[in-house]
Symmetry: C2
Subunit: 525 residues, 2 copies
């Protein structure tokens, strides 16, 4: 498919600016020849104005119509064919098997939102019927309005132009303006082609979707500061997410920012677990740390265990496996430079020992970094916040603790994370409960005898957590509940049936679950 | 009951500071003799540290135990007897009938949360059972941690020390540190006595509740900036709420702020409605504007209607009724000064006509302001944001529109509000839909043929709205869903039954509604 390097502003190609950048193949460090045009302020403003206009129409659409549009988006993505996989592979180096899986995940989650909309109960209707001295009050969820989405680099499909943020915002009934990630501009354009085709095929207003290219901070700042934007979805670094959050908070009219940022994903391994299955855990851990060249927000980056011969043996085994594992390709130069800077910063702290790696593979023709294992103590973790910095790559840090109390104190000192994990044995259930509670307070998801990479797209998933993992601990960016980030409840008091949405009408024509006078029912009133 | 004028820091009286202030009777402008001690920074820090420690215990409590505590709080408030009513009346001038009703509302909403907890489904359990290649994921809502509550002046019971924010935070399982409103420090202390008694009677940790007195901005700033605080509930002015929001957003670790601030609560009245029941609407409107001396966040402050003879007659009738209505007592000097400043600011804008009032009653021995009616045009509303300023008192502003298109354009120019209202006739249902949609986008609650004052404490209530009505449009500060402001979801992956909360155990021992593999059920797995 011929690419243009232009922005997609409400279905129209646009390249008003002269500031351009190029796609880079991380395997060869070679730049592509097609210039991608940084969006101008006028283009950003036009995209938002079109989204505001589109919202005026979309907010009247029934859930079923939006569901049809989502299905069309999934089909149009599939219609891009293997061109999408090859383009993304050349921009990210993630490899065809991974990208094939990620494509299925991406279309799968879009279709899952379509199914959620068709089922209908996601509208959360709550009704209190009229009573003596009480009016009838009926509420449900409505879309917030135009949403700005910031695409991530490490999931060029599932957390990017048509990824979870975009899918959940569109499902909510919100138009979306996406700031594409500069790491994969060609891939981004392909998704824009698919989304535009879906907009046309389903007769949605042109402003339903816009794609804004940009390799600096301007485009994102203009987008967030535009008064027409009502909410922001972001996946990326702590620094980037915090900058967006700060910009949105400083607006004359602040808006919610749902930023999924850094995480070190602590893993606790008990001595009993080591005794029972050290080899299996080592194997799993190395697989989880090196998967996707370690470029996952759920990468297990901090492994806490009691100091013992078994633990030392375990760390040696992991270190050997990390040395033996092939060095992967990093996504781009910025990721490589950031990883170098983060690991170097950590390695120079007191009480840090680099067991293997700790440097880029400089002779390589691609962006890469040696698989890295470091080691420190619980006392150091407690004393030095800097040790909780995310190393976004194939890196993990062991924390040796004097005993379980020392380990517990280290857990108490942890910042917020997306996940926390315990490896323990069934025989320890009585003694491990307090630690599990502690780990719970530090994360959005608690894993037992597993690894944090691999985020199932299911209703019960919680992909979020206390700051700095996210800016909104009550929300998730994966799973069906991601939709509520872009909705708000509105209540109707004594409003006639004819003016109410179907979900709130007495007859319950959608047949959905509602909370009526404090009782859940899918019946009529 | 003898008052001390001290702070209540985790059940202990404390008056370390020398900076004091006094209660003022708004009916006589006379100061009381008991000095109330502004909390010091050390006292604030101690309250938060105690709350953090208390959270370590409370987070393990089952819902039923917290429900018992809430019932105890309600009983202890009732045990304060009429002393509470008289104290509050002398500090607010709100009168015994209103305060008697507000007390019932306050204990009623505390008990409603207790019932919500006993029913149990508020935990929102979501379960995806294990499948091929999929782990078991089970999530539910957990408390966020220590909450700072800023009490309002205009509801000394229902939105103050033991008001809706405190009740919902405690119900969520969060310890609370309240910054009392300086307008009613004695009333605040009585509530602290009741809460402390409940803490003692139910054996809750001392840090479950603290009361911090303060008549400046320091105490609140110290509280919000303390790293132990995880969320903030605020009810008050736009300026105050925004300052708190900004402080929380600038923290190294930002936290959510749920601020319920200003609102002008637009009301649209059609010509058909005027033709059918002008007198009834005028009567209701004046009652709503002057109720509680107009000191409600839902006070109808902006009335939009087409320019016509009937409209002019209606405005005259309202103006006459406003003149005839007695001038009420304003809560305190700050409210009186703020009202004077807001109305004076509005009155000097172009295209504003003051039909009656517009000045303080200076010869009065109490804080008061003449019932005030102003008039302007839709064009002025569109051109001048300043006209959407809240006048917190018995004041309303009529907006004459050339026709319904002109009216619609004015509605489009409105900022966010807590409520919006339409008065129309059944014969207009076909034509009024678009306007209702427009008004919906501007508010959290849409009222048909009623008045916005009177916020029913029911599950379906939405007391919130787009900024500047609140800082968090997806949340409510009244009704059962207020609890979710202080909770967050946590998911458990493959965690053994023995370590899961009852709500997530396969047998569903609580018998509550759960979403299991995408189907709602109260059965076992």
């Amino acid at each position: 498919m011929p690419l243009t390097g232009q922005n997609y502003i409400a279905s129209e190609l646009s390249a008003e600016g002269s500031d351009v950048f190029f796609s880079v193949d991380p395997r060869s460090k070679a730049s592509g020849s097609l210039p991608f045009h940084n969006a101008t302020r006028a283009e950003v403003d036009r995209a938002v104005a079109a989204a505001v206009a589109a919202f005026g129409e979309i907010r009247h659409y029934p859930s079923s119509k939006i569901a049809g549009f989502l299905d069309e988006v999934a089909e149009q993505i599939e219609a891009l064919g293997d061109d999408l996989l090859h383009t993304a592979d050349s921009e990210t180096g993630l490899g065809l098997p991974r990208l094939t899986g990620e494509r299925a995940r991406t279309t799968g989650q879009i279709r899952a939102f379509a199914n959620l909309l068709r089922e209908g109960s996601y509208l959360r209707p709550i009704i209190n019927t009229e009573g003596p001295g009480q009016p009838a009050i009926k509420q449900m969820q409505f879309p917030l309005g135009p949403v700005a989405v910031f695409a991530a680099s490490n999931f060029p499909f599932a957390f990017a132009v048509a990824g979870g943020d975009t899918a959940s915002a569109l499902a909510a009934g919100c138009p979306v303006a996406v700031k594409a990630h500069p790491g994969h501009p060609a891939t981004s354009e392909l998704f824009a082609v698919a989304l535009n085709a879906a907009v046309a095929a389903q007769g949605f207003p042109a402003g339903t979707f816009s794609l804004l290219q940009g390799n600096g901070i301007n485009v994102g700042q203009w987008l967030v500061e535009n008064d027409g934007i009502e909410a922001v979805g972001f996946t990326g670094s702590l620094r980037g997410g915090r900058a967006i959050y700060d910009a949105a908070s400083r607006r004359p009219r602040p808006i919610p920012v749902y930023a999924e940022m850094g995480s070190v994903n602590p893993v606790v391994i008990t001595q009993a677990a080591l005794a029972a299955r050290a080899e299996e855990i080592a194997e799993g851990l190395v697989g989880s740390v090196t998967m996707g060249t370690g470029q996952f927000c759920t990468n297990p980056g901090l492994i806490l265990l009691e100091d013992s011969g078994a633990s030392r043996d375990f760390i040696s085994a992991v270190t050997q496996k990390m040395e033996a594992a092939p060095a992967g390709v990093l996504l781009n130069e910025a990721i490589a430079a950031g990883l170098q800077s983060a690991v170097s910063g950590t390695a120079t702290r007191p009480q840090i020992e680099v067991l293997t790696g700790g440097e880029a593979i400089s002779e390589s023709e691609y962006f890469c970094y040696r698989n890295t294992v470091m080691q420190t103590t619980a006392a150091a973790i407690r004393a030095d916040d800097r040790l909780q910095v995310e190393h976004f790559g194939p890196v993990t840090l062991f924390v040796l603790c004097q005993d379980m109390d020392d380990l517990g104190a280290a857990v108490d000192a942890l910042e917020g994370n997306l996940t926390s994990t315990v490896h323990a044995e069934e025989t320890e259930l009585d003694s491990i409960g307090d630690l599990l509670h502690q780990l719970r307070e530090k994360a959005g998801r608690v894993i037992w005898n597993g690894f944090p990479t691999g985020v199932a797209v299911v209703h019960a998933m919680q992909h979020g957590g206390p700051y700095p993992a996210t800016t909104a601990p009550g929300t998730t960016s994966v799973g069906m509940n991601a939709i509520y980030r872009f909705m708000r409840p509105i209540a109707f008091q004594n409003v006639p049936e004819a003016l109410l949405p179907a979900a709130l009408q007495d007859a319950n024509p959608l047949g959905i679950l509602r909370l009526v006078d404090d009782v859940y029912t899918d019946g009529a009133i």
